[in-house]
Symmetry: C2
Subunit: 220 residues, 2 copies
């Protein structure tokens, strides 16, 4: 039994190492092309794609998007309609993106396109599994929406203790729901003192320009 | 490489088999005690615990609850305050419950308690990974909340094509959001013709009694 367990652990470690290696390749490639990259992680329906639609309007062809979904091409189509190139990864069941899937998707993006400054990767809708996989991004962003409840920061520490940026979306719904914004931010900062926080609504646009300007300030 | 891949597949199969075996043990044990069981699966923040709080008020000590979370005991405390016994499983990182974790939790519940008719298992907040693990329940319930968006049924087919019951929660927020209830139900029924559907709001109570009466009609 112990031997079997050891073998399992060994294989898991090998997979993680391979992912880290591939993530380093992605990071170096994007850096060489002068492209800043973000990895956007949240539950299903927290508003990742709506945020990217707003950003597509703001950045236009300065941004390219990789969309991760279990199934359907709907999100890439939404982002494309909003004005910037998008590639869909259909994971076919896998609960997170990994660096190899991103590397393959990068082959479908013109990284030499004039003015391309930002690559936004929308991870599979899942607060748990994506948090353990480096994709090669420069900035890891955790997104929580008001209807999900302010208790989710403490319930999903593997994500919220490791993100560079914490976004609270759907702030326009706060009047109708019991969500303590101060509590959510405080609980995130307790685990993650250096985190940068934005409250916003991708639907109404509230706070979105501030977030886009902040991203811009990080471009290479 | 091929050999290594085969070994991985073999181990994955072995783990699944072990889970199915344990699930059968749970199902037999609960059936022998005359307890009907449900497995409630949704994204984080879709309202699983609020539904169970309502049900605790309705069923009282006729219901016992197993709460699955990555971290924190908050949900079990909420359900206990609402009036029925609850056991918390903290998975410590794992993205779903499995039948062994449920079996262990069952040891902390008095299955011989007079009038105990229903065991409700709240899975870890995740639309993906829990859908592949039988816990030994009699009824698998998939829950989607209005703020998550009506496109989620087609995006998470591994769950919504396999559930016995499809709940649409937070129906009180429908006036503020673009959620096409008919579309969500139709897309679920297309994959899963025998699914039973309820629209409800655990917060306002709308539709909740109908759902509880339906559960009651399935008790042993």
């Amino acid at each position: 039994m112990a031997e079997e367990k050891n073998r399992k652990v060994k294989i898991a470690e090998k997979i993680l190492d391979k992912n880290d290696l591939m993530a380093a390749v992605n990071r170096e490639l994007l850096s060489a092309k002068g492209i800043f990259s973000i990895n956007l992680i949240s539950s299903p329906g927290a508003g990742k794609t709506t945020i990217l639609e707003y950003m597509a309007g703001y950045f236009g062809p300065r941004m390219a998007v990789i969309e991760g979904d279990i199934q359907t091409r709907r999100d890439a189509e939404r982002v494309e309609r909003a004005g910037c190139p998008a590639v869909q990864i259909e994971t076919g069941g896998a609960c997170h993106l990994d660096a190899l899937a991103v590397k393959k998707a990068l082959e479908s993006i013109d990284l030499d396109a004039e003015n391309l400054d930002l690559l936004a990767i929308e991870n599979v809708g899942n607060l748990i599994c994506p948090s353990g996989y480096d994709l090669g991004e420069n900035m890891k962003i955790g997104l929580l929406s008001v209807p999900e409840g302010d208790d989710k920061v403490m319930k999903y520490p593997s994500l919220f203790s490791t993100v560079d940026v914490f976004l609270i979306n759907k702030i326009d719904l706060a009047p109708y729901l019991d969500f303590d914004v101060d509590r959510a931010i405080e609980e995130c900062r307790n685990m993650n003192p250096d985190v940068t926080v934005f409250t916003l609504s991708a639907k109404t646009g509230e706070g979105m320009d501030d977030f886009c300007i902040f991203l811009e300030s990080n471009f290479h």
